[in-house]
Point group: C2
Chain length 416, copies 2
């Protein structure tokens, strides 16, 4: 038995105990985690400093360094998010339907934890605590496999959380970290079918695709976001400009930011005149098809074929002309990643049709794509935004981390 198999086995064993724990006990453990992360913050910061120093030496980019670095303020934020999770209602144990069948059997469907959730992620130490807390509240044990750049930070956080679990009289194996950060360990985790019920990759598109392609355990793909806004000829152009600015510029690095705007040719000139100066205040680079380029001139560049499938996560926007809504819909269904798509129009029938036929986790009428997340959708916290159709679609809150079990009360019934 390999080290990871051993770890999987322990996580599975712990999951049976955790599955039977009530909300009171789970909240108690979460409170102890929050307290202990607070008290032991020096230990956590020191471990993080080690990672940051090594990363600087290895020439990590500024953006990545920023994500890796913990500060007192960030730790406060992480602790606050544990308290948010404590405040959410535990979905476990709810019976979603129950009925008495003609033969007298009483059959109910009860919400239960998935079991063991593995999470592969990159160098963001906040994910370590966030993911562990969400899994714990939903009755799941987790195996965390963070990026090697954040290893010391993750190790410290997981140790502190395991101490809190022991204090709360739950198995410490409810949360564990994969000690080996090599590619091989990630690969082994993707094939740990006997112990891992679900694997959630969190990070860039490259990571997610590699996991989805290679894993034999069930995977939930999250956060691939090539999102579009279609500006219809019947759109209110002032509103459209405001929404597009928000969707592109309020936080370009996240998956619900827009990457491509599709503009009805009849209003394209008027719309670009309005929106381009706004986008230019944020130095947004415009990658345009020939028709749009003719209108924006030196303020844009010609788009290459790759631009129509690009997730920039940056101040870059692809701009494309369409002759009508049908062309926009076809383009979205061909090039989108099934994340968030929006139509801006005053026309009722177009709005309804767009909602009907666009194939994505979240389809909007007259709103920014930036709203797609657990908090905005009223789910409380989220572990990611699923862009696949199986199991969960869109922001994944606590309920999406559960499955069901049929419970059947009989009196000796046999089947004829």
């Amino acid at each position: 038995m390999t080290v990871l198999e051993q770890q999987g086995r322990q996580a599975k064993k712990a999951s049976r105990i955790l599955a039977a724990a009530g909300e009171t006990k789970k909240n108690q453990a979460l409170r102890m985690m929050a307290e202990r992360l607070d008290k032991e913050r020096e230990r956590w910061l020191a471990a993080n400093a080690e990672d940051v120093a090594a990363a600087k030496e290895n020439g990590m980019s500024r953006a990545m360094l920023d994500r890796l670095t913990l500060t007192d303020q960030r730790i406060d934020g992480i602790i606050a998010s544990i308290h948010q999770i404590i405040a959410l209602r535990d979905p476990i144990g709810t019976v979603t339907k129950m009925e008495k069948r003609p033969n007298g059997l009483i059959i109910g469907r009860r919400r239960v934890p998935l079991g063991v959730i593995a999470i592969i992620y990159e160098a963001r130490p906040n994910v370590t605590v966030d993911a562990a807390a969400l899994c714990l509240k939903s009755g799941n044990t987790c195996i965390l496999r963070g990026g090697k750049e954040a290893f010391h930070s993750n190790k410290a956080a997981v140790e502190i959380m395991r101490e809190a679990l022991v204090q709360a009289e739950l198995p410490m194996d409810c949360v564990s970290l994969v000690a080996d950060t090599s590619r091989e360990s990630a690969n082994e985790l993707m094939h740990l079918n006997e112990y891992v019920d679900v694997l959630i990759p969190r990070g860039g598109a490259g990571l997610i695709r590699a996991v989805a392609k290679n894993a034999s355990v069930p995977v939930i793909r999250t956060g691939e976001g090539v999102c579009h806004i279609y500006v219809d000829k019947e759109a209110d152009l002032d509103m459209a400009a405001r929404v597009l600015m928000n969707a592109k510029c309020s936080r370009p690095s996240v998956c619900n930011a827009v990457e491509c705007v599709l503009i009805h040719e009849e209003i394209e000139e008027a719309f670009l005149q309005k929106v381009v100066p706004m986008l230019k205040t944020k130095q947004v680079e415009l990658r345009c098809d020939s028709q749009a380029l003719a209108l924006v001139g030196s303020q844009g560049v010609a788009a290459a074929e790759e631009d129509w499938d690009a997730e920039y996560d940056d101040y870059i926007l692809a701009v494309r002309t369409v002759k009508d809504m049908e062309e926009a819909i076809e383009f979205i269904n061909e090039h989108g990643t099934g994340h968030s798509e929006s139509i801006l129009t005053a026309n009722y029938f177009k709005a309804q049709h767009f909602l009907d036929v666009v194939d994505a986790a979240a389809v909007y009428v007259n709103a920014s794509t930036r709203f797609t997340d657990g908090g905005e959708f009223g789910l409380g916290a989220e572990i990611g935004i699923s862009t696949q159709k199986m199991h969960a679609r869109g922001p994944m809150g606590l309920e999406e981390l559960t499955t069901s079990k049929y419970v059947i009360y009989g009196e000796g019934q046999i089947r004829e």
Copy 2:
């Protein structure tokens, strides 16, 4: 683009049209399928005769031959099951929750089809029509890849169904058959990520494991059934004998039949005295641990290690002694496939505990495991019984063939 990629592309395209079709239109298509399969039964029977003749020549086993063979009566049954599916309520379009958020956005969760469902199955021509009808009713297009032994039968059935689709003014690519029945085509289908939303293997344990291990498209595992009955010391032994007989002998070849009985040592002798003569009326072979073997003597044989994980699908039963319920639960969670598990007891606390901690799709108290299916659970028809936790667990009816989409009605909202 390969032939299968082309087929996938067409199925995806058809799925966008089918997703927008209402229940009336889908029911019309199903009625036309039923009518046409009725009128064209000679054509279907002739194609089946070809398969049966070839199978006989190749020395197919009698049980397999029986599953392959169509008769007028069986076709009547297949047509009747289409009518059953017509009678079920279409789940598509239902909004499961909708609320107005503080910022005025109206956010709803709407039930939508999965898209393209691929099904890999063995030589049972009834699956072809059954699966296609369930997919159609739930708004999904399907790509069917049946066993080569049933190729002519499947081809005829799919042709007839496609004719009905055209007649009903739906794309004929709502249903298609993989023409190449080689291992390579199955393998390609398992990696058709761009077009296949979900792959459901239907058949023996070997097929299902191979698909789950190799596929990169999302898979739902179905029908792996190593089911247990635990006879507690507080069980009513007459009831226990009746239930065990039913669970083993009413239809041993199906996945919800029991394979292993766990007996509390204190009542083992009394229970075996009661049940063994009953089991012997059906020539059930008993594979026993040493303690049980000492009690049944020449009526049993010694179990080998493999017997504790075996899915016999036959008149064979593994018999094991346990010292208490905890040992039974641990054994079930270790050796079960997460299908159906039952405790027979008069003790309230034991019953509740067993329901809580046994990790399976269906957990019973005082009833036969044979009830786990869509009809018995009140779902109407089913496409299989999921033994995984992701997406669906237990019998999969129409609802389990759907996913959701968030629809958001705005008035120009942007995110601060």
